[in-house]
């Protein structure tokens, strides 16, 4: 039977852990709130951008020169870049594990093709670097802090590679934030740029030639997609960490309750034993 002191020590240690997980949960909750606000704040621009591009594209649909634009060029997918959004840190439940597994599945599907990674976040980078997988570029620190300019610089890197024909397709793999308890793994192709949905052309006064406008709009497509993915991924990360830490805090509480009960039993047992000893000693004297 463990001694009372040992049990007390264990309870204290579990309680300390519980305090840490509780604090982490609260920090994640605060960060999640901010991340969610940013996701919502970014929506109007993304929606307006989509509509604008669709209308400009409709205006130049008949312009054949556009087909030669480097970001629209369709090539057989031989060399693929996968942009892979993980967290910088762990303790977020299955967040990183699920992503890594999905990335491996993606790579396995592309058998015979050449896949290169661009990793966002330390966890994904570390995993694939350990396995000597080719990594074209790596970015870290975005789950702490990032702004649109960071997303734009990632997008520029992708665009330049694509324009130089060093890669034939670019995919993003990230966790889309659905709700507190659910995130959805999402894979989207951002390059070549998908043709815009068909809309009725509007009779605009074009201050610049429409073709020039569209050429300016195309790189923005990649930037917005990367920014969106970053926002979603960071929100999903904080949500996953918050859920995991909540679970850990509950587990700790349960463990403390069990250990306390056990400790009380042990204490009662030793008291009973002492009484029996005293009583039987007294009886022996009669």
């Amino acid at each position: 039977m463990p001694s009372l002191i040992d049990l007390r020590r264990r309870i204290r240690s579990v309680r300390n852990t519980q305090q840490v997980t509780k604090a982490m949960k609260m920090v994640s909750a605060a960060k999640l709130r901010r991340a969610q606000d940013r996701v919502l704040a970014a929506r109007p621009y993304a929606a307006m951008y989509r509509e604008l591009r669709a209308r400009v594209a409709a205006a130049v649909a008949t312009d054949e020169r556009l087909a030669t634009h480097p970001l629209l060029a369709q090539r057989p997918e031989e060399r693929i870049v996968l942009v892979f959004f993980t967290a910088d840190r762990g303790l977020a439940g299955a967040f990183n594990t699920n992503l890594i597994r999905a990335a491996q599945a993606f790579i396995a599907e592309q058998a015979g093709k050449q896949v290169q990674l661009v990793t966002i976040g330390r966890k994904g980078r570390d995993f694939f670097r350990k396995r000597h997988f080719p990594i074209a570029a790596e970015y870290t620190g975005f789950s702490q802090k990032f702004d649109y300019a960071d997303a734009a610089s990632v997008a520029r890197f992708l665009i330049e590679r694509y324009a130089r024909a060093e890669t034939d397709a670019v995919y993003l793999l990230y966790n889309e934030f659905k709700s507190l308890i659910s995130a959805r793994l999402t894979t989207v192709r951002v390059l070549p740029v998908q043709p815009a949905a068909a809309v009725r052309p509007v009779d605009y006064i074009f201050e610049q030639p429409p073709r020039e406008l569209l050429e300016g709009l195309l790189p923005r497509y990649v930037e917005v997609a990367v920014y969106q993915a970053l926002l979603e991924s960071v929100a999903a990360e904080h949500a996953a960490r918050m859920t995991a830490m909540d679970q850990a805090t509950n587990n700790a509480a349960e463990m403390i309750a069990r250990l306390t009960l056990y400790m009380n039993r042990v204490r009662q047992a030793s008291i009973t034993k002492e009484i029996i000893e005293v009583v039987s000693g007294a009886e022996a004297l009669e």
């Binding site: 970014a42 621009y45 993304a46 649109y148 997303a151 009779d203 006064i205 201050e207 917005v224």
Partner: protein, 86 residues
């Protein structure tokens, strides 16, 4: 004709303005354009400069730079790269 039109100004990070306004001055690449209700559909690249607009509660201004502006059916959308309160 309507007396006001809807002005929306957004950057990739957030929405700055969504208001009914009477008049707006927008810095475009080929010079400032003034928009009043009933303006013809127009598309242009933006330049850096001061966007001003007049709504029910007075005059307002924003510094914006880069992006596009779209005027369509009494609905003006400014998609700027950057913006800040002037």
């Amino acid at each position: 004709m309507a007396e006001t039109f809807l002005l929306e100004v957004a950057t990739p990070e957030r929405l700055w303005v969504r208001a009914q306004v009477r008049e707006a001055q927008i810095p475009c690449r080929n010079g400032y354009i003034g928009v009043l209700p009933g303006h013809a559909a127009l598309l242009s690249e933006l330049a850096s400069g001061r966007l001003t607009y007049m709504s029910e509660d007075g005059n307002h201004a924003l510094e914006i730079s880069g992006g596009w502006v779209e005027v369509l059916d009494d609905h003006v959308r400014v998609l700027a790269d950057e913006a800040r309160e002037a």
